[in-house]
Amino acid sequence: MIEEKTKSIAFPGQVHELPGGGVMLSKLDDVINWARSNSLWPLTFATSCCGIEYMSVAGAKYDFSRFGFEVARATPRQADVIIIAGTIVNKMAPVLKRLYDQMADPKYVIAMGACAISGGPFFYNTYSVVKGADHIIPVDVYVAGCPPRPEALIHALLSLQHKIKSGLTREQIRTTPIEQITH
């Protein structure tokens, strides 16, 4: 079990021990994916109470820096992943779209909490709330909860990392269930 876990985190490639030192063989794609997945900087973006949990995950107790999420960037041009933490209202929708468009590829999207997934508690009888952020931008990972626990967000972040490491394209990330990823 521990073996399995370390394997997915370890550098991708085979070490060939030779006299006087070893040689490592790998694929450039694998190395790029490995580097990319371990340096996913999220955008500082939160629209409601999920933002508090997001801040908690960024803080010392849960600390997503441990997993390569390092620092939240205050500009979309330096961010790799946008965590939609909170309700998206009709007035906010064009702003979210613009932020997403300003992010450089490769970019990823996590919908955190019920509001970002479907409008959540604001699904019925409201004129102002977008019924799911995926109406505006494509979402890679959905985190259930209202708001989700910090552990749930960390799980979502690690799932995204895992999918990137396994070499999936953006399209495949969205459509492949995490259980189907073998390596």
């Binding site: 009709n90 007035k91 699904f123 019925y124 009888n125 409201t126 004129y127 102002s128 019924k131």
Partner: protein, 152 residues
């Protein structure tokens, strides 16, 4: 001032005001035509000195609208609530923004969400709703939005 003293003072100022019992604070219902003059007295009367309007909102009762003003005195630390009933078809009331400046924003919000027309307001236009929204008041009970609203 204690609540009992407040009630007596209000009865002196405006005998027509109806005191509503129950609740933590003194509740008074006044007529829309008397409200502005009454508000000025509440603000300027030295013994009352209601210098802080800390909440201004509206309620849609389907039959009529009710404006609700929460007043406080930062000097005496006493509070009161004033309610003004309005006609749902033609909701109009004098603006109190000349007495409490904060009302300027709050009245714009009530204007866009409930469609209450505040007379003599210096700048009555939408506050948060997007431009072109005029005429539809989303917090009114009869508000319908077939595109964005999913009914339960």
């Amino acid at each position: 001032m204690l609540n009992e003293e407040l009630k007596a003072a209000i009865a002196d100022l405006l005998p027509e005001a109806v005191l509503i019992d129950g609740g933590e604070w003194v509740n008074v219902k006044v007529d829309a035509s008397e409200w502005l003059a009454f508000a000025k007295q509440l603000r300027l009367e030295p013994a009352l000195n209601f210098n802080f309007l800390f909440c201004l909102t509206c309620i849609d009762w389907k039959t009529h609208l009710t404006m609700v003003y929460h007043l406080s005195s930062t000097q005496y630390r006493h509070n009161m609530v004033v309610k003004v009933d309005l006609d749902a078809n033609k909701p109009e009331v004098e603006s109190v923004s000349s007495i409490w400046r904060t009302a300027e924003f709050h009245e714009r919000e009530v204007y866009e969400l409930f469609g209450v027309n505040f007379l003599n307001h210096p700048d009555l236009r939408l506050l948060i709703l997007p431009d072109g929204w005029e005429g539809k008041n989303p917090l009114r009970k009869d508000f319908e939005d077939p595109i964005n609203m999913i009914k339960l």
